[in-house]
């Protein structure tokens, strides 16, 4: 008991006074939001004044407690949402930019779309994070039809929009955006996805698949580094040469070899390239694999926007959330760094190894 008391006194002695200061600032009206904006300012200063990091630690510690998932509220965002919130959705969308109100309406106000956000009761109308969902027949492989509002899966040409949400067997998460820079590092996305899966399962019991259609930021740069590597087998180097031609995806003769070469390389990049903590180099992979998802499919020409080519040679990835596997995947990932992936992706990675040795794959 003596030890307990000493420890408690030590804890009290070394808890930075700043935390108490922040708690007192929080007493003021709108204090919570002001503190979040204060940290946003602080983060902007950190690069030049690294000595401020201790202050940031205190913010992070308090925010981790205050923005605990138990305090967050999930709200559906749709065309009945107040305009003051919707304009923030337009502003904060970080994955696939929303052009204007018409574009927003196309994304939200259809029978086959859903959008959910986390709010904190002390920060009123400011969303913390939101996710956009398209209901789909089958797993979607391309983002453009989703953004343009054309697509709800294979059946779209023959069915009316009204029926689409009933036909859908898949909920595709195609955009997750954090809204508050000042809450960087406070983790919401994991909880958001899981709660949205629950909400959708209840509303639409016919849904079978919960899957993302995710970007692969950093892949194009990694690919470029491979090409600059002198060890690269000539066969592979030759195949990748097509990348130098503008609009290569319009030219079948260039596209085919590129597809044969790049998809395996992407599987290798996502599974095998690790950062200094032994976790996947790719941040999106880190997020979804850490949540317990499976790396399910690599979609060739999944994003044919300028940004899509520049970032990932046009690739997009499906991460699949299988409720029964999430726990095990998460455990394996955090304990052993093991990456859950489908047999298709595993095959691709195997092929990548052969390519690396100069062997030609089918």
């Amino acid at each position: 008991m003596r030890d307990n008391q000493s420890l408690q006194r030590l804890f009290e002695a070394c808890e930075p006074r700043r935390q108490e200061l922040f708690r007192r600032l929080n007493l003021a009206s709108d204090g919570t939001y002001e503190l979040v904006k204060m940290r946003e300012d602080l983060l902007a200063l950190l690069r030049e004044q690294p000595e401020l990091a201790a202050i940031d630690d205190d913010f992070a510690h308090l925010f981790g407690s205050w923005f605990n998932r138990g305090f967050l509220m999930l709200k559906r965002i749709d065309w009945n949402t107040p305009a003051s919130i919707l304009e923030k959705i337009i502003r904060y969308e970080a994955v696939h930019e929303i052009q204007d109100w018409d574009d927003l309406r196309r994304r939200l106000d259809a029978r086959d779309r859903r959008c959910f956000a986390f709010f904190h009761p002390a920060i009123g109308d400011e969303p913390l994070i939101f996710v956009e969902v398209a209901l789909h027949k089958g797993l979607p492989s391309r983002i453009q039809p989703i953004l343009s509002g054309e697509s709800s899966g294979e059946s779209r040409h023959t069915k009316k929009a009204v029926d689409e949400s009933e036909d859908a067997d898949t909920a595709a998460f195609f955009g997750i955006s954090n809204c508050q820079t000042g809450l960087r590092g406070i983790s919401f996305g994991n909880f958001l996805i899981k709660q949205v899966v629950q909400e959708l399962s209840q509303e639409l019991p016919q849904l079978k698949y919960f899957v993302t259609l995710s970007p692969v930021p950093g892949f194009a740069q990694w690919l470029q580094e491979q090409r600059e590597d002198e060890q690269l087998p000539p066969s592979l180097r030759k195949a990748l040469k097509g990348l130098e031609t503008a609009e290569w995806h319009q030219d079948k003769a260039l596209e085919e070899p590129l597809k044969t070469a790049i998809r395996p390389l992407a599987a290798r990049y996502l599974i095998e390239e690790k950062n200094r903590h032994g976790l996947p180099l790719n941040p999106v992979a880190r997020f979804h694999l850490g949540n317990g998802a499976e790396l399910h499919r690599i979609n060739w020409l999944g994003d044919i926007s300028a940004k899509g080519f520049k970032q990932a040679a046009g690739l997009m990835v499906n991460y699949l959330y299988v409720l029964d596997d999430i726990e095990r995947n998460h455990e394996n990932y955090t304990a052993k760094g093991a990456v859950a992936c489908s047999s298709d992706v595993r095959d691709l990675a195997r092929r990548a190894r052969k390519l690396a040795k100069g062997e030609t794959t089918k």
Copy 2:
């Protein structure tokens, strides 16, 4: 900067693991309320198992952060409030018991009554603390007319209830009840009173006085100790002898000398009797003086219920909240232990000193 980092590492090292455990329990649905109930159980065990105090420290630390005033919501409680909340008001009222639904209605559902409670967004319908207010013409001195719904100040015999809230110049706080044992020590009352003063000022700009009608728990016991003190001057001893007669307040011959003796003693008790921290012995005085209120008036026969006599020889006290003085009073109190009081009460205390010397006062 090195020091900062070391300190941060030390803080992280000695922050009890339990706090992180509690934060994770809070992820679960209804987790916050379960943790509050958990601490309630813990507090019940503490007396017999003092070694659990360290756990309680962790609860207190986290709850202090989670139940920061910035996260609380003030709600008015009235007859339009859901029955599920009202039944909790009946259950939690700790100062002047509410008998049943009719009694509750009498206290809430009149033009001259108000009730406000703090809620926490993660604990839904459970009030944390609430305050009952009677609008009054002049400062009220007796609790019974308020509880029976008879009184709205001197004008009540000639006016209809409808006019009463408009005539009122005083908001009398006659009951503040904490609802959650598991939140013991987390301070809400201060903020509640101040915010209710604001709300009422806005709704009823004609209000001039914000005052309590408060009990004096412990005074009867202290008085008894005085009587057992051999140093007590005979004149005073004689006057206090009346207390031994049942129903003494019905007998003018007994009541008068008691009044002359007891009111000064009460002033002395409230102002001069201190605990080991140098603060007033009386907990209610400690609360309101600490909030910056003034000890304004000692009301003879303010509470003629059995409990009132047993607890405080029938006395009640008005603490006055003067917005312009709150800050200064609070500062003087916390810095120097100075008790803000009206000249009337100060006179009483002076008389008490004379009585103690055996002098007779007028």
Copy 3:
């Protein structure tokens, strides 16, 4: 076209000016409710001043339009409903009196209870009509266990309350109360029952039966008239003699012959005794049969309260709402006065005919 215009002018000419007056009164704040109370006063005067009937016709005409089902809102009433509404439920319950708040809570705040009311947007918190529902395993035959909160069907002794709403296969409507005397004759009950059936089907898809447990007002009086009829066969007269003994239902020797005689008579009363419009004499039967329900079962000793004996010799009736039959039943009833009833009840009626001829039935 000329005719149309003439007719329109005639209509305008003979529409009572009062209707326009009422529409203008309705412009005032709370006007709608005041008009409803005005008609309540009027109805009280009508008996003595029948010449006021024309005013009542105007009220009825306007209210029929204003309180059209399209304007009503269904709300669930439960323990989270504001106290100001709940106290009205206590006051307006007309079938089985609610004693106090504890009684109310017993009726509302259990997993196996539901209550729904219609409100009108211009009359705020005043319910127009409400229905109380008990979820039950099997069709209930007796009201006392429902009122005391004991019963949820046969399984109640072994199951916990938590499971009861899941086990239930029957929703029993055991009280429908009109709240506003001023809306007499404006029909809501029909719509209320049908919408509540829809709501409950959606919430609890396992429900199979929607049934009432209804009183039989007027039956005891009718029975008395039978006994005073000199034509009554001696055998029947003898059997009914038991009614003269107080507490006859406690005496097996009296009860058995009464049961044998009275149930058939009740079937005959409900099916064959008609008013001057050729519709059932019994008003409750008229209501439910007119809604398309089936006269399903006559429950011996269904209501053993003093009121139950006095009104209906202890009988209660189940009317069954079978969604697929409602339309046809309603048509047959309104077109031909045909009473839909179960084969059991039909058998009872047949037996009544034999009894009337002095034949003894099994």
Copy 4:
């Protein structure tokens, strides 16, 4: 009494069956809105099929009862209003078109703007009528600064927006739009203005003037007719010749004589030109004068948009609502057709009479 009954029977006999049909259609879900749309279709047919007028009479009669002011709900429209309602505001604005969401925001989401709409509880999110208000220091004379969001009265150059609503002494109603063609002829505007005046008085007690800034549709056409009149004095004809020059308002030499001639003519047009019912020819004047407002000021170059010139030679009018005069103005207007107007406007009308005689005015 006999007469009463006969009359009632006659009324019942000649009330068109259609009204009962419409009441029954209203039982269906969304029935009310469908009926409103049905009448919208009917109105479109009426011109070609005038024999349908009788049906329209029935709609008008029922809607007059159903959309009685007692059933309407006033709601504030602002940037926190659901987008689904705001897009209807954009669509329905009939006076000064709203270009897009940015324009809408400019009109709604400033401290010095208000917008209110009437809704009917059975028609959910569909506004029936709405009014746009600008808070202003002094009476506004020109619409363009209001539409562009520049203006809040004379003080705007030196004050920040934040202070503007506090400085304002005038609420200017600059747009009233009916939303539902199917409710044509059912009068809401009158009640809307009066209730909004009440709301604003309560929110902003410093407001002294409630005034419109209204268009003068039909004035340009009337002016043209004057010019074609051979009786027109040469002096006046000459002054008006300036209208033939494009962009005349940019040319001081043209503008001055036009101003001198046209403002008096407008006063005459508004006050003296009557329709066959003896009421002002101008429909906007009819509306506001019928509501009890005063014709307060004629604003030269009040609307310099193309539409403003085409419709009213650029004029706009202030109608002033003085609460104490509304009743009297309304009475005088309906009883005697008397037009309440300010002495300035009266002077202008006098001058018009001189002009008509060929006299030159100052």
